[in-house]
């Protein structure tokens, strides 16, 4: 092999190496972007799943709060507030369930507004329940979740 032909061969080899490196870098960047997009999508999915689970727990607490409140309403007074005792597994998560009879309510007239607030860690939910006295005690007339 002469010196000239060696030079040409090494020049072709280096050009081919550059092309392969370019293709490899392009492929690497495309795959990196895809992995990043997949990671973001998965973390958003995980966050959404956690939020849904938390919201379901809060819903169940609000439902439990209504049941518990009806047992507390033997002699209700406007402004009364009580906390419902929760199972240990929920207390460990700093969960609370508080019910308050609206101060403007007049339980003596057979109707009252009850605010029930559930909280787990830093998430909370609230509902307002309108109750009316009937033959079986207090029955729900209306329940609504206030606008945030």
């Amino acid at each position: 092999m002469t010196a000239r032909s060696f030079d040409r061969s090494s020049h072709i080899d280096s050009r081919r190496g550059g092309f392969v490196l370019l293709i490899a870098l392009a492929m690497f960047s495309v795959v990196s972007v895809a992995i990043l997009a997949l990671g973001l999508s998965m973390s958003a999915d995980a966050r959404r799943t956690f939020d849904r689970a938390r919201r379901s727990q809060l819903d169940q607490l609000l439902l439990a709060g209504t049941d518990d409140a009806r047992q507390h309403l033997s002699s209700p007074h406007a402004g009364d507030t009580w906390n419902t005792q929760l199972p240990h597994s929920l207390s460990e998560q700093a969960a609370t369930l508080q019910s308050t009879i609206d101060p403007a309510s007049d339980p003596g007239a057979g109707q009252l507004l009850l605010h029930i607030q559930a909280r787990i860690e830093n998430r909370s939910a609230e509902q307002i329940v309108r109750l009316a006295k009937n033959a079986n005690g207090w029955g729900i007339v209306e329940a609504r979740i206030p606008s945030e």
Partner: protein, 158 residues
Amino acid sequence: MKAHRSSDFCRRSRAFTITEMLFILMIFGVAGVVSMRLFAASMRVIRTAPDTQAHAASIDRLSFTLHRDVWGAKSIDLPDDRTIVLSEPDSATIRWHFSDADVTRTDSAGDRRWPTDLPLHAERRDNALVLRISSDRSDRDDELYFPCQSLSASGAHQ
């Protein structure tokens, strides 16, 4: 004799055998197929990720409103699995309809729409409404659970 062997070795080392060539071609072929599939999958993920997030956000927004509607409803009726009719305590009626292009909520104030092309189906389960979201990414439907306070308190079951 020694010179003859040396020239034979040089001649052999200058070229590849057919077996070596076929082996290399096979490796290049496999590498090419793998890289093309990886490229196609990567491009699909990059292309669909924003759409998936937009759909999820749309479902989150509509589920927030549906949650409030179902929570206070006096009754939940399902004329078919893509229509929900909710009777509110003030005798108002709220109608939800899931079409292939969007979700429409109709009440006395008018219509509200959420664009989504995900197939949504509703079903009644005990005192709650369940929204099933079919997805081609998973073999299992996603389910959203919306409890109803009034029906739960009265102990009504379908």
